[in-house]
């Protein structure tokens, strides 16, 4: 089936304005008759919930954390892009749009990305009005810096805690609506099923993580803003509780999953130290503004970094990409680090490259570097025990962000009417690779400025209160969730949930990681179902379901990853080209650059669930480029 993204026609710059003019409105007196269920309270979820409540709708918000303020958006360090052109260095909406499309290797929708670039400016205005303390210069104006994939300084930041400040801004707007009685918060509550009534999303089934109670909630529309899925790799920079569960359960109820093979590997993480490791920590990409990346030129050079002379160092990014240098985009910088390490030039454990501030400290002084990145240097020291002012940091790529997600049209509505998907949980704006500082932008654009308009258009066509949690569909859903919980508890095998997660992560990283081949993918497609079968025969989940049971929570999430990982590998096998975060070794130039096949793969791959272990059905949404010329990405 050919999918329709429903992008409005007409000139690019007018599409969103024209579309908004055509969207239906809900009368203010009628808004309070509608209830919207928002799952996830990160940047996208909290901003959507706050804005929808301001408009007058009733909002029920759900998160697995103890408070909405702890959603994982809080961990984003670097910044948020906008096309303000305050530094007068040639930025514009079109340039931000162009950089994003190119950065995503021409695998994103033009209309969505242009709208994102337009809205970026409103986001900064909104956040400043909320009291987000962005960095300022001595005249009181906002300061900017640059990020990977761009030659202009368009990134707004609040020290190394931009995600935290933006999330707290949204959380505060959200809290104001809680006080006003327009939002009801359900914290420590996990969505475990989507309820579909007559083909439309009308509710969710959740588990209260404290009491274990399984409950159903009915609403007039469901907003999924539940984040990304890269914890399928076990080790990633995501929070421990981040999972695919909400999205996957919606997928099993009919929502298409798009481009799952697009996963972002971030170049600047602290390297792994051992098997005990539970989590990887990212060092902000902004470090690449002043840090220089290098490896020794000679294999097995064991000397401390300071004793390796200049002419025996390879500043490989500056050498290969002279115009972008250390600020090459994430996929390119990650792959270059892997190539260096695979060639035996890695430092530390062999899985690491240097990020060196010696030159910057000489040029600017240690105080300036401390003012810019002090908290990151402190964090690095706590984790590694090394002082990066005196010796270079060691970094290695790690899984960081999901560009794939549930399929949505231009209105951010999935193929199931009434199910809207925002932020990292949808697939729409980043293509095959996300540029730095654009995830925060997308989450807030979706939540503050897009979904509130487009949901109204859906609600205006529906009668309020059509579904009730007493309906059969809800009863069936609750029974199904209850059954799954009991099944997990009944296995009583010998291996822990973490054992299975580590094994799955190992398969994913080795066979579906930074570089994939037909052979490795076929290998993964054999190993994952076998591991899944073992899981259901040999996992041990202690305790019971009527209590706070963290092992049970994890078990449900890993069970979903054991299904989802297979889809991810299948999508990667289907996409027989290299693009962005998806690199097939069969398709590369002599010097290791990705080779796309635009004539065959210029489409969004949207998968329809066919049953566990059964082949899903592929639907394609063709991508057309009217305003940008498809070109080979070059950062040389």
């Amino acid at each position: 089936m050919i999918l329709d993204g429903k992008c409005p026609s007409g000139p690019l710059a007018d599409k969103w304005d024209n579309h908004r003019r055509d969207l239906k409105l809900v009368n203010p007196a009628n808004k309070r008759k509608y209830t919207i269920l928002v799952v996830g309270t990160g940047l996208a979820g909290a901003s959507a919930a706050a804005t929808l409540a301001e408009l007058g709708y009733n909002v029920e918000a759900f998160c697995y954390q103890d408070s909405p303020r702890r959603a994982h958006s809080i961990a984003a360090q670097g910044g948020i892009n906008a096309a303000k052109n305050y530094p007068n260095d040639g930025d514009s909406i079109f340039r931000l749009f162009h950089d994003t499309i190119k950065g995503g290797d021409f695998r994103a929708r033009e209309a969505n990305v242009y709208r994102l670039a337009q809205i970026s400016n409103n986001i900064i205005d909104q956040c400043v009005a909320q009291g987000v303390p962005f960095a300022r210069d001595y005249a009181g104006y906002l300061e900017n810096r640059s990020f990977g994939g761009a030659q202009v300084s368009r990134t707004f930041f609040a020290r190394g805690q931009t995600g935290q400040q933006l999330l707290l801004g949204a959380y505060q707007a959200f809290s104001r609506q809680v006080q006003a009685g327009k939002i009801r918060v359900h914290a420590r509550t996990e969505m475990l099923d989507l309820v579909v009534v007559d083909g439309e999303a009308k509710g969710i089934t959740v588990r209260d993580l404290v009491t274990g109670e399984i409950r159903c909630h009915a609403g007039d529309a469901v907003v999924l803003a539940s984040g990304g899925y890269v914890n399928v790799y076990n080790l990633s920079t995501n929070a421990m509780g981040s999972s695919v569960t909400a999205a996957w359960r919606a997928h099993k109820k009919g929502a298409y999953f798009a481009n799952p093979c697009y996963t972002q590997i971030h170049p600047t993480c602290i390297p792994v130290t051992g098997d005990h490791q539970s989590k990887l920590t990212l060092m902000s990409e902004s470090l690449r503004n002043d840090g220089r990346i290098w490896v020794p030129k000679n294999k097995g050079d064991q000397r401390p970094a300071q004793q390796i002379p200049e002419d025996e160092r390879d500043y490989y990014l500056e050498r290969k990409y002279p115009s972008f240098g250390n600020l090459a985009p994430r996929d390119i910088a990650s792959r270059a680090a892997k190539q260096a390490c695979d060639a035996g030039l890695g430092v530390g454990s062999g899985r690491g490259v240097y990020l060196d501030f010696t030159d910057a400290i000489e040029r600017l002084g240690e105080d300036t570097i401390r003012a810019r990145y002090g908290n990151l240097f402190d964090m690095y020291q706590r984790i590694t025990g090394e002082n990066a002012y005196q010796q270079p940091m060691r970094i290695y790529p790690a899984l960081h962000y999901a560009m794939g997600g549930l399929w949505v049209d231009y209105n951010l509505q999935s193929n199931l009417p009434g199910l809207f998907v925002l932020g990292e949980a949808n697939f729409s704006d980043h293509g095959a690779n996300r540029l730095g500082a654009s995830a925060l932008m997308q989450g807030l654009a979706d939540g503050y400025f897009i979904a509130p308009y487009t949901i109204a258009d859906y609600l205006a066509r529906t009668e309020p209160g059509k579904a009730s949690s007493k309906d059969d569909e809800f009863r069936d859903s609750a029974a199904q969730v209850e059954g799954l919980t009991n099944k997990l508890l009944a296995v009583n095998g010998r291996k822990t949930v973490n054992d299975f997660h580590r094994e799955l992560g190992h398969i994913m990283w080795e066979d579906v990681g930074m570089a994939r081949s037909e052979e490795s993918l076929r290998n993964a497609l054999e190993k994952i179902p076998a591991l899944r079968e073992e899981f259901w025969n040999n996992v041990r989940v202690p305790g019971n379901g009527a209590d706070l049971n963290q092992e049970l929570e994890k078990a449900g999430r890993v069970a979903d990853y054991l299904e989802f990982g297979e889809l991810l590998a299948r999508d990667a096998l289907n996409r027989d080209e290299s693009c962005g975060g998806h690199f097939r070794v069969e398709h590369q130039t002599e010097d290791g650059e990705a080779v796309r096949k635009d004539d065959q793969y210029s489409y969004v791959a949207a998968w329809e669930y066919g049953g566990t272990g059964k082949t899903p059905q592929l639907h394609k949404e063709p991508l057309t480029f009217e305003n940008i010329e498809l070109a080979v990405r070059s950062y040389k």
């Binding site: 961990a75 956040c127 962005f134 009181g140 005990h276 539970s278």
Partner: protein, 253 residues
């Protein structure tokens, strides 16, 4: 290294709770404190015992979820470090470690090391925001803010809302937490018009929720993983006294 742990186990809010003893074997100095507990839990599960329940999420020191008192100190012995960022190289072979949940009247224990901190959400709901609707605001550079003020606001805004300040305070006061939000918004022009109402509502809610008042022990500052300064408590007090005359007989001011 090998360690002996004494861990607070409590089935639920009504349970009395007690310290139980566990052995942590072959601990690597590169492990984080939580990874050490993960390993202990893996052993417990394999032995058919219930794992120790604790709160954690980002494991990067920013979400504020982790909440353990280690040897009497919230977030443990290392200054300006959350539990998740505390590494085992801070401990020695043979150490005995006592692990307890946050202790404060406003934070009832949910289970083992997990406490309920929603009282802090209610303080923010009472007024910890700028009342602005989405859309229709001025250009960001139309509001000029002196760099010193923006920096001070950011110093306060760094608060991660973990509640270590409350756990460290002999009065179970949330003053440092409240002052961080009041201080941030008081330094910015956007926050001014409703400053008086904000400080009164947040302070009142703090007391209603069962937190104590400040009596200048400064334990909060010492425990804060983000190094929030007690100078914000002075700022909170100034804001409060400025607000009082404005609010007399006029709750809506």
């Amino acid at each position: 290294m090998n360690l002996t742990l004494h861990v607070w186990r409590q089935q639920g809010p009504e349970d009395k709770g007690r310290l139980e003893r566990y052995q942590a074997k072959d601990v690597s100095p590169d492990m984080s404190f939580l990874e050490m507990l993960d390993e202990v839990n893996e052993e417990l599960i394999k032995e058919g015992r219930e794992p120790i329940v604790f709160d954690h999420d980002c494991r990067e020191g920013i979400c504020g979820t982790c909440s353990q008192v280690i040897n009497g100190q919230p977030h443990g012995p290392q200054a300006e470090t959350t539990v998740c960022q505390l590494h085992m190289r801070e401990f020695k072979d043979g150490d005995e470690i006592y692990i307890e949940p946050w202790r404060a009247r406003a934070f009832p224990v949910v289970k083992d090391l997990i406490v309920d901190r929603t009282a802090m959400d209610r303080i923010i709901e009472a007024g910890g925001y700028v009342s602005v609707n989405t859309g229709g605001v001025a250009d960001a550079n139309a509001i000029l803010i002196p760099k010193a003020d923006a920096d001070t606001a950011m110093d306060a805004a760094e608060c991660i809302g973990c509640g270590a300040c409350v756990a460290a305070c002999p009065n179970g006061s949330a003053m440092l937490f409240v002052s961080a939000k009041v201080g941030q918004l008081a330094k910015l022009p956007q926050g001014r018009p409703e400053a008086a109402r904000r400080v009164c509502a947040m302070t009142e809610t703090m007391l209603d929720q069962g937190f104590g008042n400040c009596s200048n022990h400064y334990e909060c500052e010492a425990a804060c993983p983000k190094g929030i300064s007690v100078k914000f408590i002075s700022m909170l007090n100034r804001e409060y006294f400025k607000a009082l005359p404005k609010l007399k007989g006029n709750k809506d001011a």
